[in-house]
C-alpha cells in the first residue's frame, strides 16, 4: 500500500490541514508520499519533507499550479495515481474542489470527510449534518478520501527527512483561468486551527455591532472569530467566518456562541468543541442543549461585562 497526500499551501508555507491528512494516510498502512503542486513553492516542499511519517515528497512546480485550479491539478494527480493505492486530501475548500474530479477520472467513489480509519477500506463519515455517523466499506481498488481536520491529530511538522523528487506538470488547461481573489485579512488565528473561537449570530444586528461587541472579547481571549450563517447572510461577517454543516467545521478548546440560536446546521460545525459557552436571551434556545455553560440574558450588556472581567 502506498498513499499520495495532496499538500494544502499558499506557495509559501505548508498549511496545518495537511498534517491531519498525513496522519489519516498513515493509518491506511504503507508509505505516505506528499505531493506539493504550486509555483515558487520550494519552501513548501522542504517543509513537507520534514513532516514526521512522510517517506517522499513529489514537487511539481509550474505556473499552472499557482492557484490550485482543479483543471490543472487533476490530470497531474490522476497520472501519479498509477503508482498509488489511495489519494488523501484535507477536506478544505481546495481539497473538496479537486478530489472528486480525480475520483471520477479514476472511476472511484470518493469517501468524503472521513472521521476515522477502521481498516484499509473501511471508514466512518458524518451524514445528515453530523446527526448520524456511517461506517462505509469501499469496493474500489483505489481509494479517494477527504479528511476532516478536526478528527485526526496533526502529524509532527518536524522530525521527518523525506527525499524531494521533482515531477513535471501535465500542461495547463485552456478552459479555466484564475482571475483574482479577495482574501479576508486578519491578525487573528485561523478559524479551523484556533484554540478559542468567539462566534456571533443574527442577534448582533449589524456589522458595526458585530465588531463592537465580538472583537474585544476575541482580542482578550486571543480567539478567532466565527459567525452563524444568518450573521454572514446579513453581511455582519465575511463568508469565510461561517461555522456549520456548509461552512467550516471547528473543534476548539473553547467555543463561545453569542446570540446564536443553535440550528442543526450550526451545531454540525461546532458540537465537537471541548467546552461550549452560550450567551442567549432566550433560555429555550437549542444552543443550550449542547452548551457546557449557558448564560441567559442580553448580549449587549453581558458581553462588555465579560470582556471587562476576563
Amino acid at each position: 500500500m502506498s498513499v499520495l497526500v495532496l499538500a494544502e499551501h499558499d506557495n509559501a508555507s505548508l498549511k496545518d490541514p495537511t498534517l491531519a491528512a498525513v496522519t489519516a494516510a498513515g493509518q491506511l498502512g504503507g508509505d505516505v508520499h506528499v505531493l506539493v503542486a504550486g509555483q515558487g513553492s520550494a519552501a513548501v516542499a522542504e517543509a513537507a519533507a520534514q513532516v514526521a511519517g512522510v517517506a517522499k515528497v513529489l514537487h511539481a512546480d509550474d505556473a499552472s499550479f499557482a492557484n490550485a485550479l482543479p483543471e490543472n491539478l487533476a490530470p497531474l494527480i490522476v497520472g501519479l495515481m498509477a503508482d498509488y493505492d489511495a489519494f488523501v486530501v484535507a477536506a478544505t475548500s481546495r481539497g473538496k474542489n479537486v478530489a472528486p474530479r480525480v475520483a471520477a477520472q479514476l472511476d472511484v467513489a470518493q469517501i468524503s470527510e472521513i472521521l476515522s480509519v477502521e481498516g484499509p477500506d473501511t471508514f466512518t463519515r458524518p451524514i445528515y449534518a453530523g446527526n448520524a455517523i456511517a461506517t462505509v466499506k469501499s469496493a474500489d481498488a483505489k481509494k479517494v478520501l477527504t479528511v476532516r481536520g478536526t478528527a485526526f491529530a496533526k502529524a509532527a511538522a518536524t522530525g521527518g527527512a523525506a527525499s524531494v523528487e521533482a515531477v513535471s506538470a501535465a500542461g495547463a488547461s485552456e478552459k479555466a483561468s484564475f482571475v483574482g481573489a479577495e482574501l479576508t485579512s486578519s491578525a487573528r488565528p485561523e478559524l479551523t486551527g484556533a484554540k478559542i473561537i468567539v462566534s456571533g449570530g443574527r442577534a448582533l444586528g449589524s456589522a458595526d455591532k458585530f465588531h463592537e461587541f465580538i472583537d474585544p472579547l476575541a482580542d482578550k481571549l486571543g480567539a478567532a472569530v466565527g459567525a452563524s450563517r444568518a450573521a454572514v447572510d446579513a453581511g455582519y461577517a465575511p463568508n469565510d467566518y461561517q461555522v456549520g454543516q456548509t461552512g467550516k467545521i471547528v473543534a476548539p478548546e473553547l467555543y463561545v456562541a453569542v446570540g446564536i440560536s443553535g440550528a442543526i446546521q450550526h451545531l454540525a460545525g461546532m458540537k465537537d468543541s471541548k467546552i461550549i459557552v452560550a450567551i442567549n436571551k432566550d433560555e429555550e434556545a437549542p444552543i443550550f442543549q449542547v452548551a457546557d455553560i449557558g448564560l441567559v440574558g442580553d448580549l449587549f450588556t453581558l458581553l462588555p461585562e465579560l470582556t471587562g472581567k476576563l
Binding site: K96, A104, E113, I127, E174, N239, Q265, L306
Partner: protein, 249 residues
C-alpha cells in the same frame, strides 16, 4: 443557451433525523422531503439567467425514487421548462449520478450545468466536480456569483480564506453556495402551469449506467451525545466556571 439543473429529493432541512435502532440507517418513514436547498438556489440562478435573456431553456433532472417527480414539479413551478426523471430504487451515489448526468449532457448539450454544492443528506459534495471530471469541462464550485459573458463565465467562489474568481470557457459546470441568490417561492398559477410541463421518464439502463453502489454501509450510529451543562446567572459565575475548567487563565 440551454441549462441543465440536477435536483435531488432529500429530507427537509428542518427535520432532525433519527438513527434506526438496528443501526442500518436513518428513519425516513413519514419524514418531510424537499428539494435539496442548494438545488433550489441552482434552479433560481438558471431562472435569473433566463430572465436576463442569456438562457433559453432550463431542463431539470432528478435521479431517484418515483416520488422525485414532486421535486421536479417544484422546479417546474419555480420556472424550469421541462424535466427528466431517472427512476431507480438504488442508493444514488455521486459517481453513478455523475455518470447518468454525463450521458444526459451528451444528449442535451447544455452550455451550463448548475448543481448544488452538496446534498444535505449524504453531505458528499462531489457530484458537480465528478461530472466536470467525466466531461473534461471546467468547474466553478461553491459559487456566490455567476456571470456569463459571450462564450465564457466568471464564477466567484467561496473559499476558506474569502472569495476567488475564475474564468471558465463554456460549456462549464457550476455548483452553488448559499449566498448565490435567494430562491423564489412558486406562485399558485405557476404551480398549476407546472402540472402540464413535460417530464420524461427514464431509467439508468437507458443511459447504460450501472447504479450498483461502490460503498457498502456497514452501520449507522448516532454521534456521541453532549450532555447539556449548567446555566449560570451572572457573568461572575461564568468567569468562575471557566477558570475551574481551565478554559481561561
Amino acid at each position: 443557451m440551454k441549462v441543465l439543473v440536477p435536483v435531488k429529493r432529500v429530507v427537509d432541512y428542518n427535520v432532525k433525523v433519527r438513527v434506526k435502532a438496528d443501526g442500518t440507517g436513518v428513519d425516513l418513514a413519514n419524514v418531510k422531503m424537499s428539494m435539496n436547498p442548494f438545488d433550489e438556489i441552482a434552479v433560481e440562478e438558471a431562472i435569473r439567467l433566463k430572465e436576463k435573456g442569456i438562457v433559453t431553456e432550463i431542463v431539470v433532472v432528478s435521479i431517484g425514487v418515483q416520488q422525485a417527480t414532486e421535486t421536479l414539479r417544484t422546479a417546474l413551478a419555480m420556472g424550469a421548462d421541462r424535466g427528466i426523471l431517472v427512476t431507480t430504487d438504488q442508493v444514488t451515489e455521486s459517481l453513478a449520478v455523475a455518470k447518468v448526468l454525463a450521458k444526459i449532457v451528451e444528449e442535451e448539450a447544455p452550455g451550463l450545468v448548475i448543481l448544488g454544492k452538496q446534498a444535505i443528506d449524504d453531505d458528499a459534495n462531489q457530484t458537480g466536480q465528478m461530472l466536470a471530471g467525466l466531461l473534461g469541462w471546467p468547474q466553478g464550485t461553491f459559487a456566490s456569483k455567476v456571470a456569463p459573458e459571450g462564450d465564457s463565465v466568471h464564477v466567484t467562489r467561496e473559499i476558506d480564506g474569502g472569495l476567488e474568481t475564475v474564468a471558465l470557457t463554456l460549456p462549464a459546470v457550476v455548483t452553488t453556495d448559499l449566498r448565490l441568490n435567494e430562491p423564489r417561492y412558486a406562485s399558485l398559477p405557476n404551480i398549476m402551469k407546472a402540472k402540464s410541463k413535460p417530464i420524461a421518464a427514464k431509467t439508468p439502463a437507458d443511459y447504460g449506467v450501472d447504479m450498483t453502489p461502490r460503498l457498502s454501509v456497514l452501520k449507522v450510529v448516532e454521534p456521541s451525545k453532549r450532555q447539556a451543562g449548567v446555566k449560570v446567572k451572572t457573568v461572575d459565575e461564568l468567569v468562575e466556571k471557566l477558570k475551574v475548567l481551565g478554559a481561561v487563565a
